[in-house]
Symmetry: C2
Subunit: 210 residues, 2 copies
């Protein structure tokens, strides 16, 4: 059935067109300016056509949120050749902070906006694959740190939440404009990196009792 095949390809093509248009709007005008009508304008279809390919706007935003996670993973490729787990943890944190500050729109969608999570609820899949995978990578590194005596042994889940909490907290304070009122703009990223630095040093027990 070559015809059905071609038809499905066409369907996927339009789906891609919609996502590309969404991403274009998203990058150029920011998350808030992405609307079904503007997407439709860009792909030169009527607004209702979009609904033939996506359940609702949340589903589109969920797909953009996916792309964000891909970008973050790309950034994290520089971790592969870091053998020392504590150093890797530090670099992982730095990557996270830089990613958030350099891609505030994506970060917003990945970790702040409710829309993508609501899409997840509507889909049958009751797991957040992307988030879960990211946390797992953090936990693995933490477990290594504990094994090798860099960090006091303890509940990996708890420590992971503390660290993710901290870096996420810093980024979301910054991109939601709470930082500008307390620190001058050029000092924001430096103080975030210093905070991470302090955290890693406080964690590190490898130099104690020597």
């Amino acid at each position: 059935m070559g015809i059905l095949e071609r038809k499905e390809k066409q369907k996927l093509e339009i789906r891609k067109m919609i996502l590309d248009a969404s991403m274009k709007l998203f990058m150029e005008e920011g998350f808030e300016k992405v609307s079904i009508r503007k997407i439709a304008d860009l792909i030169e279809y009527s607004p209702t056509t979009v609904y033939l390919y996506f359940k609702d706007k949340n589903e589109i935003l969920f797909n953009l949120h996916d792309i964000g996670f891909q970008k973050l993973q790309e950034v994290n490729r520089n971790l592969d050749d870091i053998k020392n787990p504590l150093l890797r943890l530090h670099k992982m944190g730095e990557n996270y902070l830089h990613f958030g500050m350099n891609n505030p729109e994506y970060y917003d969608l990945m970790f702040i906006q409710k829309a993508p999570m609501e899409a997840l609820l509507d889909m049958d899949a009751c797991e957040w694959k992307n988030g879960d995978a990211a946390i797992c990578r953090l936990k693995d590194t933490l477990a290594e740190c504990m094994e090798q005596g860099y960090i006091l042994k303890g509940d990996v889940n708890v420590v992971a939440m503390s660290i993710w909490g901290m870096v996420h907290g810093l980024v979301s304070i910054a991109i939601r404009g709470r930082f500008e009122k307390l620190v001058s703009t050029e000092h924001i990223l430096p103080i975030m990196l210093q905070s991470l630095n302090w955290m890693i040093n406080t964690l590190d027990v490898s130099g104690r009792n020597k």
Copy 2:
């Protein structure tokens, strides 16, 4: 001029009516459902009347954000009789986590939504009084901790950002639905409290080298 006085009182009264109606909607239907038209319906005025008392919606949300900070300060009154600064720091963190989880709508407005900060930009006042005051209270306690040897001496600003970052991170992860997909609902608050606990223990150097 008793008439002018009465007029101004009336103005303030309607202002209060608008804020009360906003708060009612805010509490009962959530932040997203607060609209100028619904506020107008509640106070039985036309929607445009609202604009005679507030510049725009952001300004209304800014006032609600203010109320949130008052509530947080009320919660924090149980800190007054805690002499030990590290214990006070711990309790302060617990208060913060509980406040966020118990008042997600207020928390959202205080620390996540952009609207109140945009209102602040439009107002001449270029400082975030509420946020600044809250951070100062944290910094003071941290300084005390350092003086009394509970925490290693260092840049108070950096440590404050780390800790605020962590608790804010945890709360915002939770109320923006990123936690539910990773941990079962009943374990969310406990793991947050454990994370804080771990943080405080990691900070505490008072038991070392004795």
